[in-house]
């Protein structure tokens, strides 16, 4: 088999198949998968085997036609209560103070809480809901600005996951598995599509100013994939990337002179060792780092934005300044071709996150005030810049919260159902998909697992979740394990 190609890691079907077979299958049996995508994978395979070094982050053609080119994932860490934000529950008002039993909800079974009393009474939302937009979708009073954007948003009210514990739930929302060690959604997207701006990281993560999420870096790691696809933590002030500037204040002239000497020594070394693509790649990486050093600070330099824009994002107010700045940077990043941006609202523990065990009014009131205006500003700003069509915006947390109270005013974790909304690239605005049950304890109509959400995100980006595979440990690994169901009603 002289024409056998080995596709390790990036392989889609089998470890080794003939080139002819490979291409013919691409043309027939697996219709819909663009040949150019395969060619890119093949190029990567060649790169891996050392034949020719191809940048693994070079942009790749999507498998299926898609509008969205970038993702902005707004992660409400700690777990947002759906029944207090985007999933109004009149029955919860009706049964306020009653026990959650079969009288209220058929077949409710044993109530599983994380830390709270499972016999605690049902608790109505302390917030009022109001209809917005042409679609008349109801939104809680704590999200008025986002409310004004409902006609651009699709709310999926029936997302459920598998863990009522922060770390596994975060891992599941970010990597598809409650177990630690899998590549994150951003890694899969970057692996599948590369990036169009080589001077900036392909996949950027901005954590909350109060700290990172539980579990830390594994939330944006590339797991068993190469580090090329992992998220880069971007700070919204000063030097955005770790080690972007010399640590001891070396001047630009000194640094350039050092780099030039390094270049000369490396070039000489390369000439003595011709044809080694690794050496060449590493020389290029230094120049890339140098360019990144110039370009990344430009992204966080928002002095070129108008006052009107800054005010739109709430940069003039203490409460909205932090998240507003991140949202504005997210727009600037996707504008510059960054493939995947994830922003965290909430950091560290307890009420510094959306984890409203003690008091939903205090906790959600505060976090909604911090995020409402910035998120609405992001949607409006993307729209007026013509970027909303090519940007998929996703909003959600690691799980929803309980309809029963915890300690009278708070709510416990609830992986049984949450609302996740999407807007922008390829999404049908002004729609509601699925529902929770009468009181918001579990998913009701058309339940969608987190992996279905993942399949939908990939689909919107032009990737098929079954075909996007990576060989590890003898298995063609997927983000959605054995496949997710694309939430078709959410698509335009």
């Amino acid at each position: 088999m002289s024409d056998e190609i080995i596709i390790r890691g990036s392989q889609h079907f089998q470890a080794a198949i003939s080139r002819r077979e490979f291409l013919s299958r691409a043309g027939t049996g697996f219709g819909g998968m663009a040949l150019s995508f395969l060619m890119a994978q093949e190029a990567e395979a060649a790169a891996r085997s050392g034949k020719a070094r191809v940048n693994p982050l070079a942009p790749k053609t999507p498998m299926i036609p898609a509008k969205a080119k970038s993702v902005i994932f707004l992660f409400m860490y700690g777990g947002v209560s759906h029944v207090d934000t985007f999933d109004p529950k009149p029955d919860l008002v009706k049964y306020n103070g009653k026990s959650l039993n079969t009288d209220v909800l058929k077949g409710v079974g044993e109530i599983k809480t994380f830390g709270g009393d499972s016999h605690a009474p049902l608790m109505r939302s302390p917030f009022s809901f109001k209809k917005y937009g042409k679609s008349g979708i109801e939104v809680s009073e704590i999200y008025p600005n986002v409310g004004a954007c409902v006609d651009d948003i699709c709310f999926v009210r029936s997302i459920y996951g598998d863990s009522n514990n922060h770390a596994p739930a975060l891992f599941e929302m970010n990597t598809g598995s409650i177990l630690q060690g899998h590549p994150s959604v951003g890694s899969w997207v970057t692996y599948g599509l590369g990036t169009s701006n080589q001077d900036l990281p392909a996949y950027v993560v901005m954590t909350d100013h109060r700290g990172g999420p539980i579990g830390g870096a594994p939330n944006w790691s590339s797991g068993f994939m190469p580090a090329t696809y992992q998220g880069t933590v971007f700070r919204s002030n000063g030097t955005p990337i770790l080690d972007l500037a010399p640590s001891d204040g070396m001047s630009a002239a000194e640094q350039r002179a050092s780099l030039d000497l390094l270049g000369k020594l490396n070039e000489e070394h390369l000439q003595a060792n011709p044809g080694d693509s690794d050496l060449e790649a590493r020389i290029a990486a230094y120049e890339l780092a140098y360019r990144m050093q110039a370009h990344a600070p430009e992204v966080v330099d928002i002095s070129t934005e108008t006052e009107e824009t800054k005010t739109l994002y709430g940069l003039n107010k203490k409460e909205t300044e932090e998240f507003g700045r991140k949202c504005l940077l997210a727009r600037r990043l996707v504008e510059r071709g960054v493939r995947f941006v994830q922003l965290y609202s909430g950091g560290g523990h307890s009420d510094d996150t959306w984890d409203a065990h003690g008091d939903i009014v205090y906790n959600h009131g505060m976090h909604a005030r911090e995020t409402d205006q910035p998120i609405a500003a992001l949607l409006k700003d993307l729209k007026r810049k013509g970027l909303l069509d090519s940007t998929l915006v996703v909003w959600g947390g690691e799980f929803g919260r309980m309809p029963i109270s915890q300690g009278g005013k708070g709510r416990d974790h609830n992986p049984g159902v949450q609302t996740v909304w999407m807007a922008g690239g390829g999404i049908k605005g002004g729609t509601v998909v699925g529902s929770s049950d009468e009181v918001g304890y579990k998913a009701g109509d058309t339940p969608y697992h987190i992996r279905d959400l993942h399949a939908t995100i990939l689909h919107a980006m032009g990737l098929n979740d079954l075909q996007l595979t990576y060989l590890y440990n003898g298995r063609n690994q997927r983000l959605t394990e054995n496949g997710g169901q694309v939430i078709k009603q959410a698509l335009a």
Binding site: Q14, Y160, Q180, T207, A227, G474
Partner: protein
């Protein structure tokens, strides 16, 4: 809930598995050949039935009473089909075909697409040929290594040892020539990085380079294998495999304060050249096999290295996840097979059934986690034991003071209690009673004492000769085959047994002898003995291949933890078998394997590419040259510290915490990083605390292991964060200054001498004349820039030192430093 959508699975099977079956058939594709070869039941028919029929017609399902997964039942029939469904020699009278063709209803497989015509044709041919049930043929890698003769070669002068015969014979058959030998300096750097993980210091370099006797290299290799730094280097490879960490992972990611004992055990084992079979036995069943050996007891911590969700509320599932992890990791690491793929269904590619999987899991089923007091103070060096006595020097007087304080109020407290006691009652004074009897100032004093005692106890605790280990439950829980891997759908009960394909193809329960004393079940001993028996077809091959991979940059099997169908085929199967046999023959000595490999001429070749060879074998699968190897993150950090002369050689003990910047610490939800002394923070990277949520940035940037998954092979990505870390990072810049200080101290004020010495320290060679001139110009120019730098005003002498530091900084950033030529 977790598996609610697994119904998708059968559909997947149809679309992906079948082409593989068809192409694996024994049908002769050449149409001109009129002889139709025999269709094999095992190779062709069984896989089709397995993929399409077993899900309903198998021992644990048997719809219609029909069982297809035992070949004999084909000739017996089911409840509805009274007679045989296969009639030898007659496809048309075989019910199997009638159902498959839809001549009888319901057409099979029911509610699924029909079998493709070519598959039905295969089954018909097989029946026509007499429906013979052939023996299972166990090929690679399920049969033991063969005894291959060392091949003859034309260029016998090139041969140093038999490895070279095997490699050269292959090369000659392709008309390829091995590359020329590497220069001595290159070889010196290579073998130092490879065996001890740091470059030679100038004295070490000189002692080799000035030794021109023929045995110089061999002597060097022996010296390095005897060096304690060897265990720190090679132990790390094993720690990658067993996903070692000092923390639990997940949300809390709390410290495992005794985990370091396992790390030290691994380092000690490599240094003492512990036979590999013994090394495996200790990790699987050290408590049963060597109960008085402190290291063997510590070794069972192997089964506790996985990440662990302390906050899980579903304890049954967590324990099942643990058992899965122990089974999968043992399969990957010790057997080199992706056993874990058979957790939810039979392995799609390899000969590992789902029953095999749970039979293997049954060895771990009785496991419980416990602590063990270690005999001989855990083999700890005196420095670590002193930590205990040091803490005790504080604790003894503090405890005494606490006692004295207690005694002072005991009598008063007793008297008070006796007053209220009923006659005849026994009066007992508790600590609380005494506390209550104390006046305010003494109560505060007592609290202070208590706090101080608590502090010193927590300092002392990790050093105590106690290890996190495993043992067995008294009542052995049953092991079930879990349908689709789901804990909620247990199938039939299974007994501990070996992967059948690796045990001659037969499913047999393992023979288990409980050890005397009866504390454990003996199950793990049975597993350990089977894995390390000389007959096990994979164990020795897998380990020699791992050793080869680290020496040569790529394994003979390039997928070192997957010897199965999805893995790569061995490039030199005869050599692999020869090495495996040699390994066992030499008492599983890892050091003798190193010696053999490192002394071969294959190892000593140049890394240069060759335009002719690169055309014939672009990826160097035949080893016509040495692969260029990049330093791993740990080796890079250790090398820089070694060059700056600051590497602290102290061995063993709890993990240390080099200083991390606030921006790195803030990426996690918890800021769990400790503070170590300057000296401790300069220790080798293998001793740096391994926190799962916070990897050391320089190691992470250079493709360090994620500490969660078993890592059989580090990837070597080239990404800009590496350049940023090494060019801008605090560690690299501050160590460059230290290198420059060392250079000035050793070489004096003359700039040429300084340049030469900088080269000698970092690249173990002298610069060429043109390099000298280039660097001299750089230093002069850089000195001028420093003097002009208004942000950091300086004088001439400091500017010169800074310029030299800048040059050293460039040197440690060069490809020549980062790669082994």
């Amino acid at each position: 809930m977790r598996f609610s959508r697994l119904y998708i699975l059968p559909v997947l099977l149809i679309s992906t598995a079948l082409p593989a079956i068809a192409s694996g058939s024994l049908i002769n594709k050449s149409k001109s050949n009129s002889l139709i070869p025999l269709v094999s039941y095992q190779e062709t028919i069984a896989p089709i039935l397995k993929a399409r029929c077993y899900s309903c017609h198998a021992a644990d399902a048997h719809s219609g009473g029909l069982i297809l997964d035992s070949p004999l039942s084909l000739f017996k029939g089911g409840a509805k089909t009274a007679s045989a469904i296969v009639v030898k020699g007659s496809p048309s009278s075989s019910l199997l075909i009638s159902y498959l063709r839809g001549k009888k209803q319901p057409r099979m497989p029911m509610k699924a697409p029909p079998l493709p015509a070519d598959q039905i044709a295969l089954i018909e041919t097989w029946i026509k040929q007499g429906a013979k049930i052939d023996q299972i043929k166990l090929g690679w890698p399920y049969t033991p290594p063969k005894q291959f003769a060392v091949p003859q070669v034309k260029n016998s002068a090139w041969v140093h040892n038999p490895i070279d015969n095997f490699v050269l014979a292959k090369l000659e058959s392709k008309s390829l020539k091995p590359a020329a030998p590497a220069a001595r300096v290159a070889l010196l750097r290579r073998v130092y990085a490879d065996l001890v993980g740091v470059p030679p210091n100038p004295e070490e370099a000189k002692s080799f380079l000035s030794d021109t006797t023929p045995k110089a290299y061999e002597k060097l290799v022996d010296r390095l294998l005897a060096d304690h730094r060897y265990g720190e280097r090679w132990g790390r490879h094993w720690l990658d495999l067993v996903r070692y960490a000092d923390s639990q992972g997940y949300e809390a990611d709390n410290t495992r304060m005794r985990a370091w004992r396992f790390r030290d055990y691994v380092i000690r084992s490599f240094n003492s050249d512990k036979p590999y079979d013994r090394f495996i036995k200790e990790q699987l069943a050290g408590d049963e096999l060597y109960p008085s050996d402190s290291d063997a007891i510590t070794a069972t911590g192997y089964a506790r290295l996985c990440s662990w969700d302390e906050l899980s509320t579903d304890h049954d599932q967590r324990w099942q996840d643990y058992l899965n992890d122990a089974t999968d990791t043992t399969g990957s690491v010790m057997l080199g097979l992706t056993v874990g793929c058979a957790r939810c269904h039979d392995h799609k590619y390899d000969r590992i059934s789902q029953a095999d999987y749970y039979r293997m899991q049954a060895f771990f089923r009785p496991t419980k986690w416990t602590e063990a007091n270690l005999p001989n103070s855990g083999n700890d060096p005196p420095a670590l034991r002193e930590k205990i006595s040091e803490a005790e020097t504080h604790l003894v007087p503090l405890r005494k003071q606490r006692e004295e304080l207690k005694e002072k109020y005991r009598a008063a407290s007793l008297a008070k209690k006796e007053k209220t006691a009923k006659p005849g009652d026994k009066v007992v004074v508790s600590d609380d009673d005494i506390n209550n009897a104390m006046p305010e100032h003494d109560r505060i004093k007592r609290e202070q004492l208590q706090n101080e005692i608590g502090h010193w106890e927590s300092v002392e605790e990790p050093f105590k000769p106690i290890a996190d280990v495993i043992s067995d439950e008294k009542d052995i829980p049953k092991t079930f085959l879990l349908k689709r891997g789901n804990l909620l759908t247990p199938g039939s009960e299974v007994q501990p047994g070996f992967v059948a394909s690796l045990a001659g193809g037969e499913e047999r329960p393992a023979k288990i002898i409980p050890p005397s004393g009866g504390a454990t079940t003996g199950r793990r001993t049975a597993l350990a003995n089977w894995i390390t028996s000389a007959n096990n077809p994979v164990t020795a091959r897998v380990m020699v291949n791992r050793i080869w991979q680290h020496h040569f940059g790529r394994g003979i099997v390039a997928t070192p933890s997957d010897f199965g169908k999805n893995g790569d085929k061995p490039t030199h199967p005869e050599l692999l078998d020869w090495l495996a046999n040699q390994f066992v023959k030499n008492g599983w000595s890892i050091k003798q394997m190193h010696r053999l490999m490192v002394l071969s001429n294959t190892y000593q070749m140049l890394t240069h590419t060759d335009p002719v060879a690169v055309k014939k074998d672009p990826t160097n699968t035949l080893f016509w040259r040495m692969n260029r190897i990049r330093l791993e993150g740990e080796v890079l950090r250790d090398s820089i510290l070694s060059v700056s002369g600051r590497l602290n050689p102290e061995m063993y003990g709890p993990g240390v915490f080099p200083k991390l910047s606030e921006e790195v610490l803030s990426t996690g939800s918890t800021h769990k990083w400790g503070a170590s002394s300057e000296a401790d923070s300069l220790r080798r990277t293998v001793y740096v605390f391994q926190r799962r949520s916070l990897p050391l940035p320089i190691v992470e940037a250079f493709d360090g292991p994620d500490m969660v998954n078993t890592c059989p092979r580090r990837s070597t990505t080239t990404i800009s964060p590496q350049a940023l870390a090494l060019f801008n990072g605090e560690f690299s810049i501050s160590e460059s200054k230290k290198i420059a200080e060392r250079v000035i101290q050793d070489a004096g004020p003359d700039p040429i001498n300084q340049i030469v010495h900088s080269y000698e320290l970092t690249l173990i060679r002298k610069p060429t004349f043109s390099q000298q001139q280039l660097v001299l110009k750089f230093i002069e120019n850089q000195t001028r820039l420093h003097l002009q730098d208004k942000q950091n005003p300086t004088d001439l002498s400091n500017a010169k030192a800074s310029a030299l530091a800048d040059f050293c900084h460039v040197l440690i950033n060069t490809n020549e430093f980062l790669y082994l030529d």
